[in-house]
């Protein structure tokens, strides 16, 4: 019984997958819209059930462990998946393979859950692969578009490469310590050159997944080619999940090597922010712009991790929650407009405010939140990240990060300028937003406004966070 309760989040998601599978292969034919509504209700139930608290436990000889923090992290991912799924409605309702989309999507989610809960490198790797392979299939889900298959190709190759690096690192670490369990590895680490090499390989594997410079090259192309919904999922859920486990790994497994990885992380953080921002400056396509902006955001999250304190972990989790709202708000608008009209460039958005004021404000709030402008939640997220980063007294680093926020403001404001100030002969026409995406937008907007102003959300995350 305890096994079932500890695995409840994974089991619910798996249950939904099986239900969809049976519906697909069964005799009865279901309308796509029915399936979409059903899935969204189920995902909502799943999210609500995520608040169900249960004592911490460890299963399978330490392979799998769960505690309040992990349950919270999984539920943040549940929330993000729910929003993505709601937004996908207008895209999927005319898509023939909606059921398959959800089966793949939820498989990746299960993979992420196992990855976050893992207490062993083997389990971690299994979870990661369980999520990566369906993700590749998802990124080629615009079946008629060549770009989409191209994106999938790029994604699978770079994923395979990063997995190989990761596996190499894991095997070296196994050679160095003789174990794969998280807590036992920590006891055997002494920071020797060999272990450091293994660590760097593992770090590179992670860096691929969270698109940290210099392992970011796949990001923009894959984001651009994939269906926007998948891109949103990739940039928020996938990245968030890997960040969750990354922080855990650094703060628990690699804690003895903190002196070694602090400098590396600072360097990677600066490189990532600067590169992401500078490339974002020149983008005309909104998907690419958001791709580079998400690279830059990774840099900021790394800055929070360098704090290696409770505040650091809390700020990362908090920021990812905020990031889910803000990035999905922006991607939601882009996705909606792209599926309705096929227009994705900044120039296409000129004069959007005259025809679609509500979508424009949602976009504006999301971008302000991404840029870190109060009173949106993004301000608090960025503030706390850099505040945690400043704990070590490295103010040169924090100054660079703060100035990067100014650079990033420029390209976000360029989109705002196009929407509110420019005009064009043929602006995007008045669009009708169906109910489900509308709910998603309301959730995003509510999250963007409320998450920051309500202090106890951060307090709660802080009370669960880890650090040293």
């Amino acid at each position: 019984m305890e096994i079932f309760l500890s695995l409840r989040q994974e089991l619910i998601v798996t249950g939904i997958i099986f239900l969809l599978l049976f519906m697909k292969v069964g005799v009865a034919e279901y309308k796509t819209e029915v399936i979409l509504r059903l899935v969204n209700v189920l995902l909502f139930v799943n999210f609500i059930l995520g608040f169900w608290s249960f004592p911490d436990s460890t299963l399978f000889n330490g392979m799998f462990h769960t505690n309040k923090l992990i349950v919270l992290e999984k539920n943040i991912l549940n929330l993000g998946t729910l929003i993505v799924s709601l937004q996908a409605y207008s895209w999927l309702k005319d898509h023939r393979q909606a059921t398959e989309f959800y089966i793949l999507l939820l498989s990746t989610l299960t993979g992420f859950f196992f990855m976050i809960s893992s207490g062993n490198l083997l389990m971690f790797y299994l979870g990661l692969e369980l999520s990566t392979i369906p993700l590749t299939a998802l990124s080629s889900f615009d079946l008629e578009k060549r770009q989409s298959s191209e994106a999938a190709m790029k994604f699978i190759i770079s994923s395979a490469f990063s997995s190989a690096l990761l596996l190499f690192g894991i095997s070296l670490l196994y050679g160095a310590t003789g174990t794969l369990g998280f807590d036992t590895i920590a006891r055997h680490l002494d920071g020797s050159a060999f272990q450091l090499f293994a660590f760097i390989l593992i770090l590179s594997g992670f860096a691929f997944k969270i698109s940290v410079v210099p392992f970011h090259l796949w990001t923009a192309d894959v984001y651009e080619g994939s269906p926007v919904t998948v891109t949103a999922y990739l940039s928020v859920i996938s990245k968030g999940a890997v960040f969750f486990i990354f922080v855990q790994a650094l703060y628990t497994v690699f804690k003895p090597m903190a002196g070694n990885w602090y400098g590396i992380l600072v360097l990677l953080s600066v490189l990532t922010m600067v590169t992401g921002n500078l490339f974002a400056l020149r983008q005309r396509n909104l998907k690419r712009l958001l791709a580079f902006s998400s690279i830059a955001q990774s840099g900021f999250i790394l800055a929070g991790i360098t704090g290696s304190s409770h505040a650091g972990d809390a700020s990362v989790i908090y920021f990812i929650l905020v990031y889910i709202f803000s990035n999905l708000g922006a991607f939601g608008v882009v996705s909606f407009i792209s599926t309705q009209t096929g227009r994705e460039s900044i120039d296409d958005y000129k004069g959007l405010y005259t025809t679609n004021p509500l979508l424009s404000w949602i976009m504006a709030f999301s971008l302000f939140s991404l840029a870190g402008i109060p009173p949106t939640a993004g301000f608090f997220g960025k503030f706390f990240l850099l505040m945690a980063g400043a704990e070590k007294g490295n103010y040169v680093f924090i100054t660079i990060a703060a100035l990067n926020m100014v650079i990033s403001l420029y390209y976000y404001l360029r989109v705002i300028k196009a929407i509110f100030m420019d005009s064009q002969p043929q602006p995007i026409g008045r669009l009708h937003v169906p109910l489900l995406p509308n709910i998603a937008f309301v959730v995003c907007l509510g999250g963007i406004i409320a998450t920051g102003l309500i202090g106890w959300i951060y307090d709660y995350i802080y009370s669960l966070s880890i650090g040293f």
Partner: protein, 497 residues
């Protein structure tokens, strides 16, 4: 008095405006909101006086609510004389700004919502006693400005082909302003973090609480490192040389109400921040860096004045002269004598009222004549006597005519500056004093060319004088200017610290 009311009223008004139907509803609800706010500010002034007469010292009407407990971040507000004066100024300018925006037709709802939101940020900033809250409100005000300028502003495209002054487009100006102010807040942010982590020892609870930090002496090396961050960061908001370049473009491109708010209130956020955060919390560093500040301030004063002489556009004239006048604020703060600092705050108030009045008058002229170029205007006194009078009063206040607020503020700054002995300080004071002559030159020249003389364009003869709302706005600001000019004692008493 519950100070949070002062933040809530603009916010509630903004939300109410959002649900209004029709242009008139939007206007009147906004006006009602800012009027309530003005009355509240007067109430605050009276209560503050009463409390002070009863022996209240330091910060009054404080209230604290925990915001982010683990980080020791509080929502903490309270006022002293300086904040009360700034709040009163904001309330005055806001009423006038809403009144002169009566003619905004396009997207008027959004316009008023943004304007009210902007003012909410300013009120919150002046009230904050927690540095986090203060920073929060400082940044709140950046984006509304960007939108106000970018959407409702007027750039080069609106002007005739013969405009000789190279002018930037409104989008360019808006972007420049937003980025530079954001850069300023980035520096402030780093400075605040430095202050935060140097409080409470190595492992102890750090704090953003202003009174607590003011009581403990920050370590001198911390002060030396982070004073420049805070001072320059806030200084960008108040046109510290060489970071003043956003001022002329931003102010000129902005719609009238936004110009009034930008020059009247927004630039004062910087001065207030320099004083309240940088100088009060880091007195040792302030003394060490004082010469640098004074040199930069003097450059701003003199350079601003000379640059104004070259301008042909009325808004640019006022914008450049704002750089010069805000230099007096920084000069007063940099001199660090009690009189000079009080003078600096008086200059903030005086310049806030004066420049708002000036921009209001320019806006009225521009609305009617559709040009702001000095060479094209002329003889306006004959066609619009009221607006011309307002223009002249604002101009005279700007050049420091006794009886108006500008004189009082500047003379206080000069007297305070002279108290600081040393050749460099004396030289700076003399240069700053001398710049007044240049001010007189450009103000009188602009006034003479636009107001006096024959009517340049027969088209002007058909122009109407100010409407009731514009008159009301001008009278309101004028009362403020004269009240300070004639009886400065109440203000200097209020600012005593």
């Amino acid at each position: 008095m519950n100070l949070s009311l002062l933040v809530l009223v603009p916010l509630i008004t903004a939300i109410a405006v959002l649900f209004c139907r029709g242009l008139n509803g939007v206007r009147w609800v906004s006006l009602a909101g800012v009027t309530v706010q003005l009355l509240l500010s007067f109430g605050l002034l009276v209560l503050y006086w009463r409390e002070r007469a009863a022996g209240g010292m330091g910060m009054l009407f404080e209230s604290r609510h925990v915001w982010f407990k683990p980080l020791n971040i509080w929502y903490h507000v309270g006022v002293d004389g300086i904040s009360v004066a700034m709040i009163l100024l904001t309330a005055f300018v806001m009423v006038a700004a809403v009144l002169v925006s009566w003619s905004v037709q396009s997207w008027s709802k959004e316009f008023f919502v943004l304007l009210l939101f902007l003012s909410g940020g300013a009120y919150g900033f002046f009230l904050s006693l927690d540095l986090f809250t203060l920073f929060f409100f400082l940044e709140v005000s950046v984006i509304p400005k960007f939108l106000l300028i970018g959407i409702w502003g007027s750039g080069a495209s609106n002007d005739g082909p013969s405009a000789r002054t190279p002018r930037a487009s409104k989008e360019y100006s808006a972007m420049k302003l937003a980025l530079m102010l954001m850069g300023g807040s980035a520096l402030v942010f780093v400075g605040l973090l430095g202050v935060y982590y140097s409080t409470g020892g190595a492992g102890g609870p750090h704090t953003f609480d202003w009174p607590a930090i003011a009581h403990m002496q920050l370590p001198v090396d911390v002060q030396r490192i982070f004073f420049p961050f805070l001072f320059v960061g806030f200084g960008i908001f108040t046109a510290l040389f060489p970071f003043h370049t956003w001022v002329p473009d931003g102010h000129s491109a902005a719609p009238t109400a936004a110009s009034m708010f930008l020059a009247g209130i927004s630039m004062k956020l910087g001065g207030y921040g320099c004083l309240r955060v940088a100088v009060f919390l880091m007195p040792v560093a302030a003394r060490e860096y004082s010469l640098v500040i004074i040199v930069l301030a003097t450059i701003a004063i003199v350079y601003g004045a000379f640059a104004t002489m070259m301008q042909k556009d009325l808004k640019y004239i006022n914008a450049y002269s704002s750089i010069s006048h805000c230099g007096f604020i920084l000069l007063g703060i940099g001199m660090l004598t009690r009189t000079a600092v009080v003078g600096a705050v008086m200059q903030m108030i005086s310049h806030g009222l004066m420049t708002a009045l000036f921009f209001a008058a320019i806006g009225m002229i521009y609305d009617r004549a559709h040009t702001r170029l000095v060479e094209r205007l002329g003889g306006l006194l004959k066609v619009m006597p009221f607006i011309s009078t307002v223009f002249v009063i604002a101009g005279l206040c700007s050049l420091g005519l006794p009886g108006l607020s500008g004189f009082v503020a500047e003379i206080t700054v000069f007297m305070g500056s002279w108290q600081r002995t040393g050749e460099a300080y004396r030289l700076a004071t003399i240069l700053a004093c001398a710049s007044i002559v240049i001010t007189a030159v450009y103000i009188l020249r602009a006034t003479g060319q636009t107001i006096m003389g024959p009517v340049k364009d027969p088209y002007y003869n058909g122009l109407a004088d100010a409407t009731w709302n514009e008159k009301l706005a001008a009278v309101l600001l004028g009362i403020g200017i004269i009240a300070i000019g004639v009886a400065p004692f109440w203000l200097s008493d209020l600012l005593r610290f």
